[in-house]
Amino acid sequence: MQDIIIDILLAIVVLTAAGLLLFIGRREGGMTKKQRKMMVRIFISAAILLALQFAPAKLFDQLDRYLFPTAGRWIRFACYLIDYFIIGYDILRKALQGIRNGRVFDENFLMAVATIGAMALAIYENGEYLEAIAVMLFYQIGEWFQSYAVGKSRRNISNLMDIRPDYANIERDGKLEQVDPDEVETGSVIVVQPGEKVPIDGVIIEGSSSLNTSALTGESLPREAKAGDEVISGCISMTGVLKIQTTKEFGESTVSKILDLVENASSRKSRSEDFISKFAKVYTPAVCCSALALAILPPLVRMLFMGLSANWSVWIYRALTFLVISCPCALVISIPLSFFAGIGGASQQGVLVKGSNFLELLSKTKVVVFDKTGTLTQGVFEVDGIHHNEMEDAKLIEYAALAESASSHPISKSLQRAYGKEPDRSRVSDIQEISGNGVIAKVDGVEVAAGNDKLMKHLGVSYIECHSAGTIIHVAVDGAYAGHIVISDIVKPHSKDAIASLRSSGIEKTVMLTGDAKKVADQVAVSLGIDEVYSELLPADKVEKVEELLRVKSEKAKLAFVGDGINDAPVLSRADIGIAMGAMGSDAAIEAADIVLMDDDPLKISKAIRISRKCLRIVYQNIVFALAVKFACLALGAIGIANMYLAIFADVGVMVLAVLNAIRCLFVKKL
């Protein structure tokens, strides 16, 4: 029965190998040279093995008559030996090299010992050489699959993250020339054609286009850009030809910085990865020693104490099975691959993770601390409300904007923005600025006063106090109170959802730190549903607060800080995990952070946490699954139920499943 199964399997291998060689092997980039060579070896040796299956020992024994006694036996052995060398010579060579270099226990050594042992048993019994060769063959098939699958997914993930522009177009003598982006000097003009990547940061001087920023931000809606707008490298121009004056060198451009982050990301190893490499170091020698014990101790016990025959060959065979099971490949390959796929998937969603250790920490986050301005709010002041006005809103804004038109204060700028038109300065005269209070000016011949409550008191106009948080501009027209304008930092549209979604993904506490006034801070916190607020903090106080929060939380729960500004950098590096908002934010913050959200959307925080959890779940699944199967096989092998075939199928099968499972980390879009 087993023979028939093996025959069928070998036939499948021969056909598949031939098919793979014909179809994938020829295609460009289908297989590497090494992989093709290996496939040819697999094909040849499987074919020979299949042929030898139909030539039983008796057939060879007939040769004895023509040559010398036992000649058939040796010729049969030679045939199998040749096949064995075809499939396994590199393993044997590596095993020898390993021994010579003082590194005995690697998987090559294990496979070499196991198969040579099986061969030796077969010579002794003139029995089944098939097993040793088949085990080597299936091991090689497993290795081939591993190399192919990992190589393929590695390339796919790298392609996802590949935002590197290959060239920049420069116009010379009316012709476009492609040059290395590194060679473009700051201030030169580059041309970006539809479908091309913007290679270097700059300002558009001619043309307009919609830009696809999805590679950078994960945002699928294209952004419109026209002359005068700043563009960042890595965007893809979709519709029009753009002429861009570069403002940075290639090395300083957004795309280079991001690539730098991503490429160095998986260099920082997570604890699970460290665990696995340490585990592999202990595991292999341990299994080898137990295999040795299994080969020697039970026969001795049987001989000396139980008075039975030693049964050496049975126990040696079981020990050899042990060796086959002991390769730690599935673990060693699937864990880094899971993290890499997780980081790749996250970066596709606009979340840059600087290392797999941070992905691991992020999955344990229980406390999230936010900076307010620029993180939960937009960081730009805008007119938030107009109250108690007698005249139309637009009219009041118009008066205030015109009165303030000479000022460059952020408040007056936000008034200008709300007004929406270029203020006609000729309508304004007699501007008096009263420092710290406001402005009095004549607009269209009418006296307009815009400023704070002190200004109103100064003018003797009775005003109405405002209950909203924010900066209040009272406006008096012709000495009569005309209402007030509330200017405040607008909360980002997704902030509330972001907090809610953090809570639903199991975050225990959300905290907001801000340098802003208590009244403003409290109002924002209540409207967003944040648990704790600390307001009126200086940058140094923020660090202190975070340290305090780090002290009170439990050891296992991790604290993440989310911020964007230059003054957030110290806090970002102090927290367990620093998350910087917006890759277009301050460089210092991005440098200090461990995770960078490419767009400013706080909703991405909970997404990042869910990605990290999925990734870690898959890592643990793989660890548990691989170890469980290995130990089960070890146990079965020791009592003699599992033979070498089962052992090699368990080894290869677990690895294939673990690799496929690891690739699931890449699919994080719907999280």
Partner: protein, 72 residues
Amino acid sequence: MKKTYKIEVDCANCANLMEEATRKTAGVASATVNFMTQKMIVEFEDGQDPKSVMKDVLKACKKVEPDCEIEF
């Protein structure tokens, strides 16, 4: 001084071994091998010539993984 090299290695465990071997090579301050991006980042000790140190690194790596390649 820090330099990045392209490498060719096709198993993750071998990459770990290469990393270890590189770290132990004289003249190397620290090293990370990134299997997934097939890159090796080596930080050299002050005053070392990267070219000659990398020769030793390649030799050490070939010892642990005969199939590996480092471009330098």
